[in-house]
């Protein structure tokens, strides 16, 4: 019996169309648009001006405060302007727009492909390097990595869990990294272990990636304290709390953090970025993005510079199919629909999915028949039918008691609902309102 989390979960069609497609390096575009806020926390502050010449890897925006991340130039060239642009979330924000000239990297960056396995840095140096290189969680949440690696006083961490689950349908970028950059990923894991001061790490991978499991299991023999944990395929196993439960049996308390049960979770992509930052002194300026969709001509996994327009990725995948009705940034379960494709790739862009028009509209909403399928699907043990109605009716105090803030917005409830009710839409509304109310209570 494969391990998994015990409560709830669904199994949507996997549609991993690009699992067999090796990572392709996308050519550097003629212009990049680099938003200053690609992470959770305060936006970075630009330190370049119009006309400033930049090299690849040079810092162009400085983190503002502790919860923030540095932004580096993903290309070499000249700053065209600093302007307000629409990003992948649909909101406007400041971005540094750079005209590309050649591809001249900072000399301090080691661009060789050779594997650097020995970790020379100390704990503090590793964390400092991650902060300097602007590392953030690559699974989608984009939380600054240096904060997660700093265990606060009074908390204990005895174990690192690496998220190689990639439970979202369609996406394969982590899968390809585990196959093609396995040793680098494992070195990154060792570095994170050192930073946290733990001697064991578990990499959770779902059983639908047997090649990644066997590749890493084989490679892990050369690394101390790293084990590979195959997991039963079940969405949302990539949820931090579900993954910890599946791998260790520990249950993060409501409103708590993984550290409350002595665990830190990092993503496979982040591990790779940590390797590159610490061993090669390379800041986070590129990432692997899955570009896919059922009618896409040439779906694939692309290594792209941050700031590359999504349109360039779509071109690389054979152009946007004529039947496209929706383009999603991220996975089909939790990703965000793009209003336009002329937006830049950011540190959190894991995939671009093009859905045909007939699959891009929601079905007709029927009355709730109280089948309870949403409650069975909820991995947090919530009652989506109830909290969505409470939110809809503005009964926020009740919704809070029903633990609406535990919802991680995985969408399993809305997916499973036979009446196609927009459960998560109302739960999101309720959750945001309850969080705001709770903040107001504290400030009073």
């Amino acid at each position: 019996m494969l391990k998994t989390f015990p409560k709830g979960g669904i199994h949507p069609p996997e549609n991993k169309l690009t699992a067999e497609r090796p990572i392709v390096i996308l050519p550097v575009p003629v212009q990049v648009t680099v938003p200053v806020s690609q992470h959770i926390g305060a936006p970075a502050v630009p330190v370049v001006e119009k006309g400033t010449p930049v090299k690849t890897g040079q810092i162009i925006a400085q983190a503002k405060g502790f919860v923030s991340a540095n932004i580096h130039s993903p290309v070499s060239g000249k700053v065209n302007k600093i302007d307000t642009v629409v990003d992948t979330t649909g909101y406007k924000q400041t971005a540094v727009i750079i005209d590309v000239e050649g591809d001249e990297w900072l000399e301090t960056i080691d661009r060789t492909d050779s594997l650097a396995k020995d970790v020379a840095m100390t704990r503090e140096q590793i964390i400092e390097r991650c902060q300097l290189c602007g590392l953030v969680g690559m699974g989608g949440a984009t939380f600054p990595t240096h904060i997660k690696l700093t265990v606060p006083a009074g908390k204990k961490c005895d174990m690192l869990i690496i998220n190689g689950v990639e439970c979202e349908p369609y996406l394969t970028s982590d899968h390809r990294l585990m196959l093609e950059k396995g040793a680098e990923v494992l070195t990154g894991v060792s570095i994170i272990m050192k930073a946290l001061g733990v001697d064991r790490a578990v990499i959770g991978i779902e059983a639908n990636k047997p090649d990644a499991i066997s590749n890493l299991t084989e490679l892990a023999k050369d690394f101390k304290g790293i084990t590979i944990q195959p997991l039963k395929v079940k969405y949302p196993q990539g949820g931090e709390k579900q993954l910890i439960k599946a791998c260790t049996g520990r249950e993060v308390p409501s409103g708590g953090l993984p550290l409350d049960v002595g665990v830190v979770v990092q993503n496979v992509g982040t591990s790779f970025a940590v390797y590159e930052a610490v061993q090669k002194n390379k800041p986070l300026i590129e990432r692997v993005v899955t570009v896919t969709g059922k009618s896409v001509k040439n779906p694939g996994n692309f290594l792209v510079r941050i700031g590359t327009p999504v349109t360039a990725l779509i071109e690389a995948a054979g152009g946007m199919p004529d039947d496209t009705g929706k383009v999603v940034n991220g996975g089909p379960m939790m990703g965000k629909a793009l209003a336009m494709t002329d937006v830049p790739v950011t540190k959190g862009t894991s995939g671009i999915i093009m859905f045909p028009a007939d699959a891009s509209k929601r079905a007709e909403v029927l009355p709730c028949i109280r089948c309870g399928k949403c409650s069975s699907a909820c991995a947090m043990g919530l009652e989506p039918w109830l909290i969505s109605v409470l939110a809809q009716k503005g009964m926020y105090e009740k919704a809070e008691k029903e633990r609406i803030t535990d919802c991680m917005e995985c969408g399993a409830c809305a997916y499973t609902c036979p009446a196609k009710r927009p459960l998560l839409d109302y739960i999101r509304l309720g959750k945001a309102t309850v969080i705001r109310m709770a903040r107001e209570r504290i400030t009073k």
């Binding site: 308390p253 409501s254 990703g335 028949i369 109280r370 409650s375 947090m380 499973t416």
Partner: protein
């Protein structure tokens, strides 16, 4: 690009299950029992079923179209299921006008007055059935004798149900052993060779339908299994205490409406609890009340009343029985 992109919050894909598919899944699950009824009761079963389904669908359509002035939603299949279940709960020789009255009460009173699909507190088909039982006690308790397929309808030869024979006999002081001679054997009961409501007789066919619904994930095992287990244990205890006064659990499980009730009536989504724990409590309640009515009540059968009584507790069960949440709750500043 000439087309605008659709933008909506996640999730961007929805599962294949729909209300209509679930409802027609129930219809498929009812098919074996319907076939058994036609086999045992002949054309009467067909007439009753058709009239009931048509009357239920028509009632819903007319109310939605002309009274509520909304887009009729009969295509969701819920009225078809109610119609089938109402038919299954009445004798196969029931006159057409009585069936239509039952359908109007089921859909018009028990379902639409509460706001239609999803909002009715009581199982519509059972409300219709109990209304008919009280209003037309003679017609509702003249049970055709199973004869193998025949073309009669209202002129069917009638007789008592096994439960009726048992209940009446025990009141008159006969022993269970003697009464067992007067009713069909357990094997015959299992196949459905007995008098009774049209769709309740064939335990085998009903169980097949139930297994299909569990396989299709339309229902879970919780409600039917707890009801049947509760009935078996309760009647089993009585039987062990005094086998001359109380029939054995096998007899209780195979007669009357317990199979139909446990598998199809009590599992109605709208009127049953939404958590597994709630379902188990609800199932135990139905089982206990059924045996109480059968053993000490005025009616020989009590499944319908038991389910309706427990329907009333469903909102309470939903309010107080919560799923186990993930993670302890901790107090925050």
């Amino acid at each position: 690009m000439n087309n605008l992109l659709n933008v909506s919050p996640s999730p961007h894909q929805q599962g294949a299950e729909t209300t209509r598919k679930l409802m027609f899944g129930v219809v498929i699950a009812l098919a074996p029992a319907l076939a058994a009824s036609v086999y045992f009761f002949g054309t009467g079963a067909i007439i009753v079923t058709l009239v009931s389904v048509l009357a239920c669908v028509a009632t819903e359509y007319l109310i939605q179209k002309f009274i509520l002035k909304m887009k009729p939603s009969v295509s969701d299949g819920s009225a078809v299921v109610t119609g089938l279940l109402l038919a299954f709960n009445v004798p196969s020789n029931l006159p057409v006008y009585i069936i239509i009255i039952g359908a109007i009460v089921s859909i018009g009173v028990a379902k639409m007055t509460f706001g239609g699909l999803g909002n009715n507190p009581f199982n519509p088909a059972l409300v219709g059935r109990v209304f008919l039982l009280i209003s037309f006690p003679v017609q509702m308790t003249s049970w055709p004798v199973p004869t193998g397929f025949k073309t009669g309808y209202l002129d069917a030869v009638t007789g008592a149900t096994p439960l009726g024979i048992m209940s009446e006999g025990i009141k008159n002081g006969e022993t269970v052993a003697a009464l067992m001679e007067k009713v069909p054997s357990h094997m015959q009961l299992f196949y459905g060779y007995m008098g009774g409501s049209m769709g309740e007789i064939a335990a085998l066919a009903l169980i097949l339908g139930g297994l299909y619904m569990i396989y299709r994930k339309i229902i879970t095992w919780h409600i039917p299994v707890t009801i049947l287990l509760t009935v078996a244990i309760f009647t089993g205890i009585l039987w062990v205490v005094d086998p001359t006064k109380y029939a054995d659990p096998g007899f209780h499980l195979l007669t009357g409406g317990i199979m139909l009730g446990a598998i199809f009536m009590a599992t109605d989504y709208v009127t049953s609890p939404m958590t597994a724990k709630g379902m188990v409590i609800y199932g135990i309640g139905i089982g206990v009340i059924t045996v109480l009515i059968r053993t000490w009540g005025a009616y020989p059968e009590g499944v319908s009343f038991a389910i309706l009584i427990m329907n009333a507790f469903v909102p309470l069960l939903n309010m107080y029985i919560k799923p186990k949440r993930f993670g302890k709750e901790v107090k925050h500043g």
